[in-house]
Amino acid sequence: LIERQRKILQLLETSGPPLHRLLGRLTQRHDVVSDLLQELFLRLWNSEAFDKARNPSAYAYRAAINLAFEWRRKQQTACQALEQNCRSMNNSSALEKMIQAEELQQVLNATSRLNNLARDVVVMRYIEQHSYEKIGEWLGKKPQHIRSVCAKAMAQLREFLKDNNW
């Protein structure tokens, strides 16, 4: 138990900030990130699979992606616009902000429709901007495979977004 405790708290120290940021990016909501981060680490603490994970950081990363999209799925109402903490939008007008936020929600919603592997790969590649090699290492697959998953996912995303191009 002590060893597990050390492991989970160490993970919080080292991977907590990037996981926190990732949850923010995938939800685009600063007001829910705190709860999601807590939920994530409590899940990890209670997960037997986490104990067996070869790479705890990678496992936590995938769990965070899963959790964020699970949260998105539960959101029945329209997602809110980007909040004040989104620095990238600070210079935009209110209308521009709304349009941009809508666009981002569309692509995130489309991503949530991908299968788990494709979704994880897309998030790691395009949002977290990791290399194919790094993603392959985390997911236990070859970089070529990741590249292929990315290409197929992108094609699927285009289809999804075409369907919903309002």
Binding site: L1, Q5, I8, L9, L12, G16, P17, H20, R21, G24, R25, L26, Q28, H30, V33, S34, L37, Q38, E39, F41, L42, R43, W45, N46, S47, E48, A49, N66, L67, E70, R73, L82, N85, C86, R87, S88, Q100, E103, L104, Q106, V107, L108, N115, N116, V122, Y126, I127, E128, Q129, M154, L157, R158, L161, K162, N165, W166
Partner: protein, 498 residues
């Protein structure tokens, strides 16, 4: 709207990736998570220290631990070194004193020991040597008692609000390592002797006052290869009994392994039974004693299945008038299900396939991973319309029961629940239906006459009557809340066919 090509998608992803949170928000959230995690860990640590395991099996937290350490240490010193620190007290006197202390404690009508760790872990134990009775309570409200005179163990689980009564077999390690409360002392004596191989022991004694009493404090320090032990024993000089112990154990690097305080009190009266320690009278009683089970069945080879239930997420079993053909709630825990000895969950860890190979939430292997708890992260969500999951037991088994938990966070009813078994992986031949509540044949597997039921933490137990099969398939078709299908866990109780 711009044309949504690959570049546009990448542009949007890039915008998403530029979302940053203020550093102070990150620091705040990390702090909250750390606190939340620490709270959870402490809670789990408290639970992990199951009283019966901690107290009855660990040599460090038993009654009069410290007193026995003294004897054990002294004897070891005598055997291995023949001497001890020059500033310490006379060996013979200490042994004599401690022997007397233990005998005095045994003569007390009741001994209450309260164990505390700085992290907040507390345990309360009551001993009655005359009645051969021991009872303990954790902060979480769990109560366990060993009545050696009656040969019974009582175990109250506050989460399930149930009391399990089991037979207490002397010498049976599954119930107790000891045959009586007195045996705890004797056993400790041996344990400490065996463990202390190279002591560098120092003992001193001093007079003091504690809680208005004159006390003598025996300060003992000794080492083994891996540990350093320090313990202070507070002896009530009037009654000659132990009233307090402070203990600190460190590893070879000086890091604290265990740090605790124990207080001993000697009341005239103690709890008559587990109800006296706060167990509600309304708690459900599950009697698993040998006598009761033997009466319950004419076949003595049958035993009650040991089905561990997850934590309930709502109280009682509500009725739902929207669903026709609904099973009336039992209003009490499900009675034990009897099956031949050796029957176990043969689905644990077995591969699962499904009509929906890409679940919306979770993974299919979660259905047989042993996690039956209701919170998010424990369930698999399959798509709408009729869906099935199939468990491959790997070989033909004689199946006595199938227990399924769809989703028990809310009192839901799942529709068209059908459970089939076969030895044919294509489910074409030898298919036997164990349960079917699809009253209008909407799933197309034939109309069933079984009742709808409300999901609870008990899961649905389906009597398989010893059918022989390798594959178990479970269908469902949405629930009263939505069109989706969920599974938390499926257990298949059986035995391999010889």
């Amino acid at each position: 709207m711009p044309e949504i090509d690959e570049k546009e998608i990448e542009r949007r992803f890039k915008a998403i990736s530029q979302f940053e949170l203020e550093p102070e928000i990150t620091i705040r959230d990390l702090k909250r998570t750390r606190e939340s995690l620490t709270g959870q860990i402490s809670k789990q640590q408290a639970r992990t220290k199951k009283i019966w395991r901690t107290i009855m099996k660990s040599p460090l937290t038993k009654l009069a631990t410290a007193a026995v350490i003294v004897i054990g240490t002294m004897i070891v010193i005598h055997y291995f070194t023949g001497s001890f620190d020059g500033s310490s007290i006379a060996l013979g006197q200490v042994i004599e004193d401690v022997n007397g202390i233990i005998e005095n404690m045994k003569r007390m009508p009741w001994v209450v020991k309260t164990y505390r760790e700085p992290q907040g872990v507390t345990l309360e134990e009551w001993f009655c040597f005359e009645r051969e009775y021991w009872i303990a309570k954790t902060p979480a409200g769990a109560v366990v008692s060993y009545n050696y005179a009656e040969g019974r163990k009582y175990d109250y689980n506050p989460d399930a609000n149930s009391i399990t009564i089991a037979s207490l077999h002397k010498g049976d390690s599954s119930y107790s390592s000891f045959s009586s409360p007195r045996a705890i002392l004797e056993s400790l004596y041996e344990l400490v002797m065996n463990k202390s191989t190279k002591p560098q022991t120092k003992i001193s004694r001093e007079r003091s006052r504690y809680k208005g009493m004159d006390v003598e404090i025996l300060k003992i320090a000794f080492s083994t290869n891996e540990r350093k032990y320090r313990t202070d024993l507070f002896i009530d000089t009037k009654r000659k009994v132990l009233i307090r112990e402070l203990c600190n154990i460190t590893d070879s690097s000086g890091k604290t392994v265990l740090n605790y305080e124990e207080e001993f009190n000697y009341p005239e009266k103690g709890p008559a039974d587990i109800y006296a320690l706060g167990v509600p009278r309304t708690a459900n009683v599950i009697d698993k004693t040998d006598v009761t089970l033997a009466k319950r069945t004419e076949d003595p080879t049958l035993v009650a299945l040991d089905i561990t239930l997850p934590k309930p997420m709502f109280a009682g079993t509500p009725q739902d008038n929207r669903v026709e053909n609904l099973e009336k709630p039992l209003g009490k825990p499900r009675p034990p299900f009897l099956a031949p000895a050796g029957t176990k969950n043969v689905a644990l860890g077995k591969p699962v396939s499904s009509s929906d190979e890409e679940p919306i939430i979770g993974q299919l292997d979660m259905i047989t991973d042993g996690d039956k708890e209701a919170p998010d992260g424990s369930y698999v969500e399959l798509g709408p319309f009729p869906q099935q999951v199939t468990i491959d037991l790997g070989a033909i088994h004689k199946i006595y029961a199938v227990v399924v938990w769809h989703y028990h966070k809310q009192p839901r009813v799942y529709f068209d629940v059908v459970v089939q078994v076969t030895d044919d992986k294509y489910f074409i031949t030898n298919v036997k239906t164990l349960f079917n509540n699809d009253i209008d044949n909407s799933a197309g597997l034939g109309a069933g006459k079984d009742l709808h039921y409300i999901e609870t933490n008990e899961g649905k137990l389906i009597d398989a009557k010893g059918v022989k099969a390798r594959y178990v398939r479970l269908y469902s078709n949405g629930n009263i809340n939505n069109d989706l299908n969920h599974y938390i866990e499926v257990e298949v109780y059986g035995k391999p066919v010889e």
